[in-house]
Symmetry: D2
Subunit: 290 residues, 4 copies
C-alpha cells in the first residue's frame, strides 16, 4: 500500500505493554534483531522508576515480514510468558478498516474522506452509516458505501442491531464524526472494536449537550475539541487528542460553532491517524500517545 | 509617565456603555471633536442589531487634558442623561495603583514586579501582601513594600481586617498572584476595588483545588490558566483571559505544575495589563476585552 | 443573502482612509446617524498621534440601505473633499464574486469550495480556472464552472489572454489556490482586481520555489504559510495572514508538505474571508486587518 | 541533586549515534540489562530505512551508577568498535556548568537565573559575563558571580582573551542571553564548548541586526525567536527551538520587541533545558531533539 507507506514508512509495528522490569527493551530488541528486523523508531515510556507500567512501540523494517510473522509471534509469546507482557503486532501494509458514523454535519466526515483519498490516512473507509440521508451523495462521490439507518423511535435497539450487522466483521474501528445519537452500553460492548468520538468542547469543560452555548454563557476566551474513545460513561472515555482556538466576546454561538468546526475536524483527523498508526495505547482511563 | 505612554500612547481613555441606539458613536465623537481631542483608537461592540447593549472604548489625544477634563465630564453627563449611558474617563498619564497578594509561589509575583520595572505594565505596585514571609527579600529588592499578614486561625476576620486597612484608599485594584487563601464575601465587598485572580486551570474545567492533579487523572492533552475577576462565587467570576499549553502522558503532576506556571504568569500579566489599560469591561458574568 | 448575514451580520460596511486629523470619526458617525444608520462595529486605527494616516472600518444597520445609498454616497463625497479622505461603501447583502485559480493540488481549492457551500464565506465562486484538468469533476460537483487553460509553452501570453477574457467583468477578486504559474506584470495590471495568493512558507523565510525542501535543509522547528496580495514583485506583496505549525526532525519533506497543507488552507480561508468582509486595507506594502 | 531529579528522573543518559544497521538497539539495551540498569525512556530515530544515520537517547536507572560506570564505558567502547558508533554517557546527578553572556537586556538572563533557582533547569550557573555593568546587582542577588568585560575598541581580542580565561575549564556550555557582540571564529573554536544563542527572529527570516524593525517594515503577522548553536556562520548554526507570537498592524517596533521578549525567553529556556538534559543531538547543520 503506497498510501500507508507514504504516511509512516515501516513494515510493521509492535506494541508491548506490561509491568516494568529490567531487560524488557533488550529482550524485545534482541528478538527483532534475531529475525533480521531493522528498528526504525522506538518509543518507550514507564510510569515509574520501579514497579510502574511499561509501554513500548517499535516500528521496524523486515524483508519478507509476512513469511517471518509466524515465527516472530511464537517468540513474542515466549517473551510475553517470561515477563508477563501483552503485545500486538501490526502489518503496516494492511490499512485498518473503519466505519464512519455521521448525522447531518459534514465537516468532520468530509475531512476524513478527503484525507483518506489524499493518502494522508492509512485506512480503508469501508462504509459511512448515518441516521440522516442528507450526506449520501457526498459520501458516494468518494466511492464509499453509504447506509442510512434512521432513528424512528426512542428505542434504538432496532437501529443498533442493524448497525451491528453492518459493521460486524467488516471494520477494525469506528469513528463518530459528529454522530448525534448516544449508543447503549450494549452496542459498545457488542461492537467489539474501538470507537473514537469527537466532542465539541475542551473536555472536561462543558460535558453533555450544547457546549458552544455553555461556552458563550461562561464567557471563555478559548474553545476546543476533544477526540476520545467511547466508553459506557458518556464524555468520560480516554482522551486521545485536544486542541483549542481563540475566541472573543463578539463571537456569537453560531460563530463559536463555526470556529469550533475547524478544530473538531483537525483534532479528529489527528486522533484517527494516530489510532490507525497504532500510536495510541489505552491504559486505565488515559492514553499513551507515541 | 513615560512608561505609561510606552505602553499605549494616548492621553485619556473613555469607556461608554449602555443600551444600544442610533447616534451613540456620533454623540460621543462629536463631543470629543468639540473639545479638541483627536481619537487615536476606537473600538465599539453591540451585542445585537437592535435592542442590544453597547460598549465603546475610545483613546484620544488632547493637549491640556487636565484643564479640559471638567468640561468634558459635564458634557458627558449630558450625553449620559440623554441616552441613558454610563461612562468612565481615565487619565492615561496616571498609572493605576495595585496591591499584589501572594503566598509562597513566586512565579506570578516576580513576573509582575519585573514587567512593571521594565515599563511593560502601566501601574504602580503600591504593596505586596503575603500570608507567608518567604518572598519579603525578593519583593523589597524591587523597592516595593512587603506586608506579612499571616493566617493564624481558621477565622480570617482579623487578617482580612488588617488587609483592608492596608489597601483601603491606597490601591485601585488588587491582583491575587497565586494567593492561596479564599476571601470572605465581606472582604470582597468592603475592598470595593476589582480583584483579579489567576486560576491554574482552563476554567470551567477543574474548578477548586489541585487542578493539575485532576488534569493528570483525566489525562488531558492541554493544560491552561484563567485570569478572572473575583466574585463571591469561587472560580465563577468573569473571565478576562485564558491560555493553554500542550502536555503529554509522560508529564508528572509536578511537571504539569511547572509547565502551567509559565502559562499562569503570562495569562495574569496580560489580564493585569488589559485591566490597567481600561480595555476590560464587565457585563453580567462576562467581559468585553477591546 | 442569508449566508452573508450568517457570517457577519450588518447591512453595509464603510471603509474610510486618509490623513489623520481631529473630527474624522465625528464627521463620519454623524453622517451615518443622520441617514438613520445604527453602527454595529467600528474599528479605527491611526499610525501616529499626529500627522499619521487614518483607517476606519464601520459596519452598520440601515433599513432600506439600497434606497438610502445614493444620498449617503453624496454626503460621503462631501466629507471626503473636506477632509481629503478616500472611502469605499459595500453592500453586505451582495457577495463578492471570485475566480479561483488552481493547478493539481486540491487542498486549498476544495476547502474554499466547501466553506462557501457551508455558508462560511460570503462570496460567490464564479469559476475555477486551472492549468491542469484533474480537478474538473471535483469542482463541478460543487456546481461551479471549471475552465481548463493549459500552459502549452513558455510564452504565457495566450493563456493569460484567455484567462483575462474569462474573468474580466465577472469577478471582484481572484484567489490563487496553489496555482503554480507566475503571472506577468501585465496580467496583474490588466486583471484590475485584487489577487490573493497562498505561499507555502512563513514569508520572508524561504521565498521562491520548494520552500518545504529548504525548510528541511535549514532544520527549522516550525513551518508556515502566508496569504498575501500579488504584486509585480514575486512573494513580496502585502501580507494578509500567516500561521505556523510545529514540526520535528523526523518529518520528511513530504510530511512537511502534508502538515503545511493544513496550515495553507486555513490561512488562505481566513484571508479570503477577511477580504470578502472588507476587513483588509492595503497601505504601502502592508495591510491593516480589522 | 534533588533539582536535577525534579526535572527528569533518571540516573544517567546515554546518547548513541552512528550508521544505522540491524541490531543496534538490541546491543545497547542488552548491555544496559547486563549491568543491571532499568531503561526509563528510550527514543530512537533513523534518517532512512537503510543506510541512514542512527540516533538514540536512553535514560536509565542504575543503583550504584558511579561504581558501575567504568565497566559500562568499557563495554560501550566494545560495541562502538563493533558497530562504528559514537556514544556519550552522562551522569544526571551532576548538573552541567554554564556561563551566561549578557549585555544590557535583562529578560533572558533573569529568566534563566530564576528558573535555575526554582529547580527548573538542571544546571549550575557558574558565572555571568557582560560587556555592560548594569545588570551586576541583579545577578549577584541570585548569588551568581558577575564579571564585567567591557568592549573598549573594535578589536575584541583582549576582551575575548579575558572571557576565555574566565570560562576555560569552568563551564560545560555557554549561553548568549541577548549578548550583543559577535564572537570571532577563533573564540568559538578556543572556547571548545557548545554556545547557545537566542536570535530575536524566526530564522531564516530577518537574519542580522534589527529584526523587529525589518518585521514591522515587511508587515508580518507573527514574530518569532530562534535558539541555535553558534557556528562561524552568523545566524546559520543548527536550530534547537523556535516559537512565534501573533502581532498586528497596530504594534509599533517597540511593541514588537516587547512581545518578542516573551518569546525569546521561553525559547531560550527550553533550548537550555533540553541541552542540559542531553536531549539535543547535532548532525550536520541540524538538530535531533528527543
Amino acid at each position: 500500500m503506497t498510501d500507508t507507506h507514504l504516511v509512516d514508512g515501516a513494515d510493521a509495528t509492535l506494541i508491548v505493554t506490561g509491568k516494568d522490569q529490567p531487560g524488557l527493551v533488550a529482550a524485545v530488541s534482541s528478538l527483532l534483531r534475531d529475525v533480521g528486523a531493522n528498528i526504525f523508531t522506538l518509543d518507550q515510556y514507564s510510569t515509574d522508576a520501579s514497579g510502574g507500567r511499561f509501554f513500548q512501540r517499535t516500528q521496524f523494517f523486515l524483508d519478507g515480514f509476512s513469511a517471518a510473522r509466524a515465527r516472530l509471534e511464537t517468540e513474542l509469546d515466549g517473551i510475553a510468558r517470561e515477563f508477563g507482557l501483552s503485545w500486538k503486532l501490526t502489518d503496516q501494509s494492511v490499512p485498518k478498516r473503519v466505519a464512519i458514523f455521521a448525522s447531518k454535519s459534514d465537516h468532520c466526515l468530509l475531512d476524513l474522506l478527503w484525507r483518506q483519498r489524499r493518502g494522508e490516512l492509512p485506512v480503508t473507509i469501508s462504509m459511512v452509516i448515518a441516521n440522516h440521508a442528507e450526506l449520501a451523495d457526498e459520501v458516494r462521490f468518494f466511492g464509499v458505501p453509504f447506509f442510512h439507518t434512521p432513528t424512528v423511535s426512542t428505542d434504538h435497539s432496532d437501529v443498533e442491531a442493524e448497525q451491528l450487522r453492518l459493521i460486524t466483521g467488516n471494520v477494525d474501528f469506528v469513528v463518530l464524526a459528529r454522530y448525534m445519537q448516544i449508543f447503549t452500553p450494549e452496542f459498545i460492548e457488542r461492537a467489539g472494536v474501538p470507537i473514537i468520538n469527537i466532542h465539541h468542547s475542551f473536555l472536561p469543560a462543558f460535558v453533555g449537550a450544547a457546549p458552544y452555548r455553555k461556552a458563550k454563557e461562561r464567557g471563555v476566551k478559548l474553545i476546543g475539541a476533544t477526540a476520545h474513545y467511547i466508553t459506557a460513561d458518556l464524555d468520560e472515555g480516554p482522551i486521545i487528542e485536544q486542541d483549542v482556538v481563540r475566541v472573543s466576546h463578539d463571537d456569537t454561538v453560531e460563530q463559536l460553532a463555526r470556529r469550533g468546526a475547524d478544530v473538531e475536524r483537525q483534532v479528529l483527523a489527528r486522533a484517527v491517524l494516530w489510532h490507525a498508526q497504532d500510536r495510541v495505547i489505552r491504559t486505565e482511563n488515559q492514553t499513551i500517545v507515541f
